[in-house]
Each structure stands twice: as C-alpha cells, then as structure tokens.
C-alpha cells in the first residue's frame, strides 16, 4: 500500500517537525515487526509444548518378578508381575508376564512372552521340553533357539539381573515378524 492512497493523511511536516513520509514508513515498519516478534516468541514455546512428550525417552523401570532360588534349572517358569507404566499424567499398573529359565550354566534368562513370529503367546510343553506357539506352530528350545515353524528369529531376551536374590527384569516390547529384534 502506498501513501498516495491516503489523501487524508496530513502532508508536509507535523508537530515534531519530522516529515510525514518517514514517520509513515516507521509506523508501517513497526506494524510488521511487532506481530512478527510476538509470533516468534509464541511459536517457539508452543512447539516445545506440543512436541515434548513425543520425543521424551521412555523411563526404564526394573520390575521384580520373583526369587532367583525358586527357579529349577532348565525348567522355564512363567512369572507374572505388575509394572507401573507412566503415560504422561497417568500412572497405570499393567500386569505383565515373562518366561524365566535358569540355564544349565546357572545364568538366568528371561524371554518376552510374545512369539517373535506374529505376537501370539507361546507356552512351555514340559513333556517335549519345547516352547510351542499354538498359532502357527513355531517351536523353540529352552535357550530360545528356533527348532521349527515360521518364526524368523529366536525368542526375544529381556535384560535381567539379580539383586539380593530378587530377579529384576526390564520389560520391553518388540516388533514381530522381523529377523532381528527391534524394540517398540
């Protein structure tokens, strides 16, 4: 918009002795700058506000699942536990289960309870000494190795540690169907 459109604007010089034209340019400049400054100073915090939970790393909580001494070597046990899950403002208690096995060498391994093929819940067949998935017939041995069926990878191992005789596990979910474990 040019000044010629505003014939009613007082021309020449005014009270301050400053010519009208530069003053007008100053007004227009300010009218553009002020909203821009306000916009930027709002957009930055608002972007952080919207984005912050989206990029927040999940808190890792070790959950106690039972006593190490209760495990019998080479006899997998399904251990249930409650886990506190924090979703933003909401703290919920979720029931989860893992398969824990005391291996022949004495080390304890924990497997995610979901079949890596398509996420069904598998079970331990004590007579056959195998983990068997009822959905598509995947079969694993006691160390989690695939023995038969469509499973693309061994059972997913979860981080586990023993503190004061307590078994602590770091529960995770994995993508199914891939030939390597990818955490969700």
């Amino acid at each position: 918009m040019t000044s010629s459109e505003h014939s009613c604007e007082p021309s020449g010089t005014n009270e301050g002795g400053i010519p009208a034209e530069p003053r007008r340019t100053f007004f227009i400049w300010m009218i553009r700058v002020i909203p821009s400054v306000m916009g930027i100073s709002l957009v930055i915090p608002l972007l952080g506000y919207v984005g912050s939970p989206a990029f927040k790393r999940r808190e890792e909580v070790w959950a106690a699942i039972g006593k190490a001494e209760d495990l019998v070597p080479n006899e997998p046990q399904e251990l249930e536990f409650s886990r506190t899950v924090k979703e933003g403002w909401r703290t919920a208690i979720a029931k989860k289960a893992v398969w824990a096995v005391k291996q022949s060498n004495g080390a304890v391994t924990a497997f995610s309870p979901m079949c890596p093929h398509l996420g069904c819940g598998y079970r331990w067949a004590a007579s056959a000494r195998q983990f068997q998935c009822p959905c598509h017939g995947s079969v694993y041995d006691v160390t989690g190795k695939v023995l038969a069926g469509p499973a693309p990878r061994p059972l997913d191992e979860l981080p586990i540690k023993i503190e004061n005789g307590q078994l602590l596990v770091l529960y995770k979910d994995f993508k199914s169907g891939l030939d390597h474990a990818v955490e969700l």
Binding site: C8, E9, M30, I31, W89, R90
Partner: protein, 447 residues
C-alpha cells in the same frame, strides 16, 4: 513468486479492495491512544483462545484426572508453566482491558445514539467474559476451584422459585462433581467461545456500520479525519505489544500455584475468589441475614439490566463530560464503591494470619488421618488421646514427634496410639502443624 500468488487471488477475491475497506475506516478527530482498549481486549481474547487450545492438548475434564493433568502441564510439559501462566494472567488482563474499554466508552458518551446496539452487544460480551472466568476457575479441580465454585453456584440458589432448579442445571445434579466439571469444561471451551465469537463479529460489524464515535467535542471531530491505517494500527500494535510483554514477564516470574487437590470432605478450606470478584465477595460479607438475596441476585440482576439498557436510561444527548454530571457522578460512585470494597477485601486478606503452606498441609493431613477422633484441639475432637491445643509447649522437639508418629510406643511406652506411616514430606508437614500449636498463637481458622 509471492506477488504472483497474491495477484492470482486478488483477481478473484479482490483482496486489495477488501483490505482497503478494512484499513481505511475513517476516525473522526484522528487516531488516539485513547482508542486502543478495544483492540487490546480483542488481542487478549485471541491469546486466551490460543493458549486455551494448547492447554486442552493435555487437560482432561474428569475429577479423577483434571488435577493430575494440570500438574503435568505445570511441571512436566516443556513450557507448560509458560502456557498456563499466560492463560492465567491473560484472564486477569482481559478483565482489566474490558474494564478500561467500558470506562472509555462511558466517559466519551460513545454509547449514545446511534451506537446503542454496539453498547448492548458489548455488555453481552462482558457477561460472556465473566462466564469464561467462572467456568474456567473450576477446571484445575483444586481446593480453591472446588470451594469457590461451590459458593458461586450456591448464590444462584438464592433466586426465588427457580433458584434450586437453576443450581441443579448448572451443576448437573444436586451436588458439585464429575458432571459439573464436564459441563463447565464444555461451556468454557465450546459453547461460550461460539457465542462470544458471534458477539465479537457483531460488535465489529456494528462498529463498521455506525463508525467510531471519536472525540466528544464536535469541533475537534470535524478538525480532521484520519484512516485507521497506519497510525491507529500502530498505536494499537504498540499497546498490544506492551501488554504481551507484561504477560510474558508475569508468566515467567510469578508461578500461579495449584492448591491441594479438591477434597469435598474438607470443610475447613476457605476459598478466595479471583481479584476481579473480590469487591463482590466483600460486599456479600456486609449483606448477611435477610439482606443476602439482595446481594446475591437482586442487585446483580438490576445492575446488569441497568447496564444493558443504559443508553435508554441516560437520555441526555450531550457527549461532553462536563454536561453529564448525573451520568458521570453515577459512574464515579460505582467505581469508588468497587475500589473501596476491593481495598478492604485486599487489606483483610493481607491481615489474615497466613499459615505457612506447610502448616496448612499438615492441618489437612490431621483431618485426613482422623487424628481428631482421639485428640482434642481447642475444644474440638475426641478425648481418648492427649489434648493437643498447646502440644508444642510440652513437646517442642521435632525429632521426638518423628519417632512418636512412626512408633508411638518407642517414646511413649504403653501408648495406645497406632503408628502412622507417612511420606517424609507429609510427616514433616504434620509435625510443622503440631509445632504451630502453642500458647500465645491464635487458633488457625478451621481447627
């Protein structure tokens, strides 16, 4: 590139002539710093709408979740404190801006013919704004929100015949609870915004039809005419920027704290309304007994009615303040009354023995753990355990109380008091409260 796009649209939508119509609005007597309040109010409304939309990203209107979500916004979301701070201080600022806008229009006699419709819509906008403030106050679901709304809704009950019905409608039932919260939320973020946006559009539409009033002196109005753009726009922008900066400074420096989570069983809590309702709060204190309905609904209704019809009540066609002694006298009297009441109320609040928040928290815990079932404080409570009215005189040692609460028998053998497993912070608060109970200190209200 940009200008090609612009001219493509301009050829179809005639944007240039539209902006010219919007910006070339002639102002009688020229631009002035006195005319900025309307724009400032509009800006603040937009800022409230914006920050409100962002708050709604995390807020959940349920008694189980509301308080937690506000805590989450305040303490965990990036810049959550800033967005909430802007919304809180913006709510106060919008009231100030509306007040100044109304005063300017009143002083300049700008409500007189032909601008009566604009005034009426303006008063409706003021009422809607108060509706926003009333409904928004409940949403954090803390003690203040709960008990202030309890009082606010109870006042409606004093209206004869339909009062009870109105309160039930307002609360969504007989008592204040989950249904109240969800309807206040819906009113605050859906119904009222729809109404007020319609009202604002109407207000501005009328402005464009009747034009701005300009100075009260006809001679000065005739002296010159100046378009809205750029000088008035510039003045508006500068004031808006100053207001925005002020809000940012307030939001950054003064955290608006949450009180404790709403506890419908804790009748010891004394709610304090927002400062812009304080004058009315003080007024109510003077109107006890049979006068009460007068204060709770008769006078407010008459006042609103009078305000709406003011252009027809004030039939003096003169706009010059010097020729309107009655109107200005009435206005001044009202202002003096409001500010005197506000002053008294603020002074009383200031003089109130302000318990440390820690002590207040301890007092709440004392009630929550039903300590009064066995212990008596200033005549209230059971007689099974020792009277605690002046317990700090006998037991001034904090460590003794820590041990005593966790394992009473360890320091007081044979005591029948059960142990209390409290979190460290709560334990400290409860003991602070016990240590505040000593002779020479006036009893805290509520004990």
């Amino acid at each position: 590139m940009l200008s090609t796009v612009y001219s493509w649209f301009d050829r179809r939508l005639r944007i240039q002539s539209l902006t010219r119509t919007l910006l070339d609005e002639p102002i009688p007597g020229g631009a002035s710093w006195v005319y900025v309040f309307g724009s400032a109010t509009l800006f603040l409304f937009c800022l409230q709408a914006l920050t409100g939309m962002f708050l709604a990203l995390y807020y959940v209107p349920s008694p189980d979740a509301a308080y937690d979500t506000v805590q989450y916004i305040q303490h965990e979301v990036q810049f959550g404190w800033f967005v909430r701070g802007l919304h809180h201080w913006g709510a106060s600022a919008v009231m100030v801006a509306v007040g100044l806008h109304l005063l300017q229009v009143y002083l300049y006699g700008a409500y007189k013919s032909p601008r009566e419709p604009m005034w009426i819509v303006g008063v409706a906008l003021l009422l809607l704004m108060m509706g926003f403030s009333f409904t928004g106050y409940l949403l954090p679901w803390d003690q203040n929100a709960y008990w202030a709304t309890q009082v606010g809704t109870n006042m409606v009950a004093s209206v004869p015949l339909v009062g009870d019905l109105l309160v039930r409608l307002l609360r969504g039932g007989a008592s204040l609870g989950a249904l109240t919260l969800s309807r206040f939320f819906a009113l605050h973020v859906l119904f009222l915004p729809a109404l007020i946006i319609g009202g604002i559009v109407l207000h501005l539409l009328i402005l464009r039809r009747v034009g701005p009033a300009g100075p009260w002196s006809e001679a000065r109005a005739q002296q010159r005419r100046e378009p809205f753009y750029p000088r008035q726009v510039f003045m508006d922008a500068v004031v808006i920027f100053a207001v925005f900066l002020l809000l940012c400074v307030l939001a950054v420096t003064i955290e608006f704290p949450l009180a404790d989570r709403a506890d419908p069983s804790d009748h010891s809590f004394t709610p304090i309304p927002e400062w812009y309702f304080l004058f009315f709060y003080q007024f109510l204190k003077y109107m006890g007994g049979p006068l009460e309905p007068l204060a709770t609904w008769v006078l407010p209704s008459l006042f609103v009615l009078g305000l709406l019809l003011w252009p027809f009540l004030d039939r003096n066609p003169e706009r010059r303040p010097a020729s309107r002694p009655m109107a200005l006298g009435a206005g001044a009297l009202f202002l003096v009354a409001v500010f005197v009441l506000l002053g008294i109320s603020l002074r009383n609040l200031h003089a109130m023995p302000k318990g440390e928040p820690f002590v207040a928290r301890g007092q709440t815990l004392f009630a929550q753990h039903h300590c009064a079932a066995c212990h008596r404080i200033h005549g209230e409570g059971g007689k099974i355990g020792p009277d605690l009215s002046y317990v700090a005189d006998r037991r001034p040692d904090r460590q003794w109380h820590v041990q005593h609460l966790q394992n009473p028998q360890s320091v007081s053998p044979g005591s029948v008091m059960p142990p209390f497993q409290l979190e460290e912070k709560d334990l400290a608060a409860l003991i602070s409260y016990l240590l505040s109970l000593k002779s020479g200190v006036p009893a805290t209200p509520g004990t």
